[in-house]
């Protein structure tokens, strides 16, 4: 009897500690957001939000902390990345789900996973070696002489980085469709293109959009690689060949000199908060869709 009691007791203890750790992790996550809010609070209370988010005047030495140039730059590189990456990744995912057999799919998992896991500094290095000179040549062809450090280079590099990510997410969405739907269309004599257009895309469009949105969120927050090719000039870019200064690069480049300028540290924490909120909103919406579909 006492053995049974002891086993029960042990089980109770373990159950409590497991639940405790899970709740602890959740509290920790809430705490992280709280710390960001706390650190950027001086900024938010001293300046109206319009001066912070919608102003492009960034002169920390004069007490001007407008973040809009950085937000626009981040949006710019992320949108360029999406324009390049999403058609290619979606088409490749369609090939793997509609045409390839299981063997090919499994064989390609390794290179795709590895590509997704390549450290961002390595992407940045490849960007400096390959993309920068190419974009420089391209700009000369377009009649503008630039070094190549530009929003376009950042976008192209990000496109490469998020391709495997969008590919594997959308492949999961496509593979979760029941085979009967496709078979019905094929039995009616539809070609592969017609099946994809009228059946596969119609039924999976929400999930595919979610996959693309997650790619966008990933691109928006990417730091080191973008920083190496984007030029880091704090002005709103007017063309794709202009340099820009995305939010993550702002944080990464300036964190060292926190103490010398009043309020500067709080401005950088506000930048981190803005970054976290924008990425958070997009990925929350997309993840909610994917969870609803039952991918997970």
């Amino acid at each position: 009897m006492s053995v049974l009691l002891f086993r029960r007791f042990k089980d109770q203890i373990v159950t409590m500690s497991l639940r405790g750790i899970l709740v602890g992790v959740l509290i920790l996550s809430a705490g992280l957001l709280g710390i960001l809010l706390l650190k950027s609070a001086p900024m938010i209370s001293d300046f109206p939000l319009s001066k912070l988010i919608f102003s492009a005047a960034w002169n920390p030495w004069k007490g001007q902390f407008g973040l809009s140039a950085f937000i626009v730059a981040s949006l710019g590189v992320a949108i360029i990345a999406l324009i390049f990456a999403s058609p290619v990744s979606l088409l490749a995912a369609l090939y793997l789900s509609e045409c390839a057999n299981r063997r090919l799919r499994n064989a390609l998992r390794l290179p795709i996973d590895i590509l997704a896991g390549v450290p961002s500094v390595v992407f940045g290095l490849v960007g400096v070696i390959v993309i920068i000179p190419s974009v420089s040549i391209l700009s000369r062809l377009c009649g503008r002489d630039t070094t190549g450090y530009s929003i376009l280079s950042g976008g192209i590099l990000l496109a490469i980085m998020i391709m495997p990510y969008i590919l594997s997410l959308s492949l999961e969405v496509l593979l979760s469709l029941p085979a009967e739907a496709r078979e019905a269309a094929i039995a009616l004599g539809a070609t592969r293109w017609e099946t994809v257009r009228h059946v596969v895309l119609k039924r999976s469009v929400v999930g595919l959009v979610a996959a693309v949105v997650l790619g966008f969120a990933r691109a928006f927050g990417e730091t080191i690689a973008v920083m190496m090719v984007v030029g880091n000039v704090a002005k709103i870019p007017h063309s794709a060949f202009d340099p820009a200064y995305p939010l993550p690069a702002l944080i990464a480049n300036n964190f060292g000199e926190l103490m010398s300028i009043p309020r500067f540290d709080s401005a950088l924490f506000l930048a981190a908060l803005v970054l976290m909120i924008i990425v958070g909103i997009f990925s929350l919406a997309a993840q909610a869709v994917l969870h609803h579909i039952g991918r997970i």
């Binding site: 086993r7 042990k10 089980d11 373990v14 497991l18 639940r19 750790i21 899970l22 992790v25 996550s29 710390i35 960001l36 058609p87 290619v88 990744s89 088409l91 090939y95 509609e98 045409c99 590895i114 590509l115 896991g117 390549v118 450290p119 961002s120 500094v121 390595v122 992407f123 940045g124 290095l125 490849v126 400096v128 070696i129 390959v130 490469i160 391709m163 495997p164 590919l167 070609t191 592969r192 293109w193 017609e194 927050g221 990417e222 730091t223 080191i224 993550p248 944080i251 964190f255 060292g256 950088l268 924490f269 981190a272 976290m276 990425v279 990925s283 993840q287 909610a288 969870h291 997970i296």
Partner: protein
């Protein structure tokens, strides 16, 4: 009819072309890094600490950064395992209501996608509050924040797919939940858990943004948890920024070492997964 077939063929070749393009990009990255890195690779680069004037082209290597990265990421992996495994088990329906579990999974997936520079900034804020300088401890802390959500979620996924019958059998025989978890869930999910750990390790080795201001950078090896520590991604980053050709060459070689580590981890995890999956019941 001919028109429809042509459309189909066009579609087919665009799809195939896209896939080929992605694989070509993958090969170009490998080729560029290895062809630029290999000629600059020396034994001294791997095994020596940077000597004085290293960043001006003098002798030495990046052993400080290689070992530093291994310290940082293995430390963070240890911390994360201790928290992630219990949290992943607690997410199972044996321990939590499905609603709460779904909500937690959603939150963790969002945290997984949070940029690591944000974790770096938060880690730095906490360190300032506690009075800790940029150090191995701070780096491990920030890196654990990055790893934790991805480790919990990937462990959760592999534990969740253990078949219902296998869970119910020991319970029906009178075992407690904990005994069932230990004897069935952990055994069955072991290959997947291993993969999750290696995935997190790979992410930790390659992550630069979170350790940028939390771990610092130094030419020496850390003597204690409170000393600053170098890391390989940052070593690549700082060297590529140099105007000197010799130093840039070393950036290429360091990047090659970094990429090589990631390749090895990926391939090893694939092999281990295959080997251990043989011993699980399907």
């Amino acid at each position: 009819m001919r028109n429809r077939k042509m459309k189909d063929a066009l579609f087919y070749w665009t799809m195939l072309g896209s896939l080929a393009f992605i694989l070509a990009v993958f090969s170009v990255i490998l080729i560029v890094v290895f062809s630029k890195g290999f000629p600059a690779l020396r034994w001294s680069l791997i095994f020596q600490l940077p000597k004085s004037g290293y960043y001006l082209g003098q002798d030495g290597g990046v052993a400080n950064a290689i070992l530093g990265t291994l310290y940082l990421s293995s430390g963070a992996v240890l911390v994360s395992i201790i928290l992630a495994l219990p949290a992943a088990i607690a997410l199972q329906k044996d321990y939590t209501s499905p609603r709460f579990a779904q909500f937690t999974r959603l939150i963790l997936d969002v945290l997984w996608g949070t940029p690591s520079i944000v974790y770096g900034a938060i880690g730095f804020a906490i360190m300032v509050y506690l009075g800790i300088r940029a150090s191995l401890l701070g780096g491990i802390f920030a890196l654990s924040l990055v790893m934790l959500p991805l480790m919990i979620r990937s462990m959760d996924e592999v534990i969740r797919i253990v078949p219902e019958e296998l869970r119910e059998t020991p319970l029906a025989l009178g075992s407690t939940r904990f005994e069932m978890v230990r004897a069935v869930l952990l055994k069955q999910a072991f290959p997947g858990i291993l993969t999750a750990v290696l995935l997190a390790l790979g992410r930790g080795i390659g992550d630069a943004a979170s350790v940028l201001f939390t771990a610092g950078f130094t030419d020496n090896l850390p003597g204690s948890l409170m000393d600053p520590v170098a890391s390989l991604p940052l070593a690549v980053f700082f060297q590529i920024g140099s105007p000197l050709k010799e130093v840039q060459q070393r950036a290429y070689a360091s990047a090659m070492i970094l990429l090589f580590l990631i390749l090895v981890i990926n391939i090893v995890s694939r092999i281990l997964e295959k080997r251990f999956t043989r011993h699980t019941i399907r």
